[in-house]
Amino acid sequence: MNSNQPAKDPAEMGDEPGSNIPNGAAAAAILSAGAGCFCVSLFGLLGDAFPALAHVFNFYNPTGPLSGVTAAAIVIWLILWFVLSRCWGEKSLPMRKINAIAFLLLGAGLLLSFPPFGDLLQGK
């Protein structure tokens, strides 16, 4: 770290004085969880809108496209969590921004999962 740079304000990072662990690991977990929830709904919507994609998502026939929708979302969530943890694990990040993005993804996921909204987007 460049010694000429001013030290980051802990309050800006969402940390209180005296914290021993940087917030990067938490930021990675929180953001990837938001993205994972969003992916479940997004893939569900895409599978519903495009029959060809629903066929691709049909990993396990008795469960149908739901198997692929959720498996793909979980894989993306876990990969994103792993990558972000590697990149951010030792850093202190502006948690307010990370939280805002994570909540936005979570809210969008919740909205997209609501069938009438999904139907509206598809023009049904």
């Binding site: 914290s19 917030n23 938490a26 929830c37 709904s41 739901l66 909540f103 979570l106 999962s113």
Partner: protein
Amino acid sequence: MQTSFRELVTALHGIGCGGLLLLAFSGALIELYRLCTPDRSSPLSACERKLLRGYLIVMALLAWGTVLSGAYMVYPWYRAHPPRGVTDYAAYPQRSLLASPATAGWHNLGMEWKEHVAWFAPIALTMVASVFIKYGSDLSRHRQVRQAAFAFTVAAFIAAGIAGAFGALINKNAPVQGGAVIKLMEGTK
């Protein structure tokens, strides 16, 4: 007194895992809220932290148990397609619901919503448990992280509540049934 294998598995999915998870939210939300309040007169002791850590891990496991048993055991029975010519849909709940406009909404809104939103709970609770494990007592010095963990737990509760409520109501309108008969107790006249 007897039940069927499918009814038993559905009850274990809905009550054994899902119902227990919904009950567990009250304890987790109170403890996490206590962590989030700015004036914590009594911070968690090492023993309480250990207890909450175990509690959150069990909640995450219950959430995974609920969605996995739902998606890979109960849902295939629910969505099974009847063979050609079959008109009695008692063993085919999805077909039974869609057969009447009065009940089709239970599938088109209820099941379509529940089957996706339910997965928010295990994802969110896994994150909350992992953050609590990683940070432990240091979590008291990360206000934004505490608030995010609390918000995701609330979101998980809402998601599990939607899934649980629709699951119960759908199963009331078109119960999953069939499979081997399990005799729980000899009946008496």
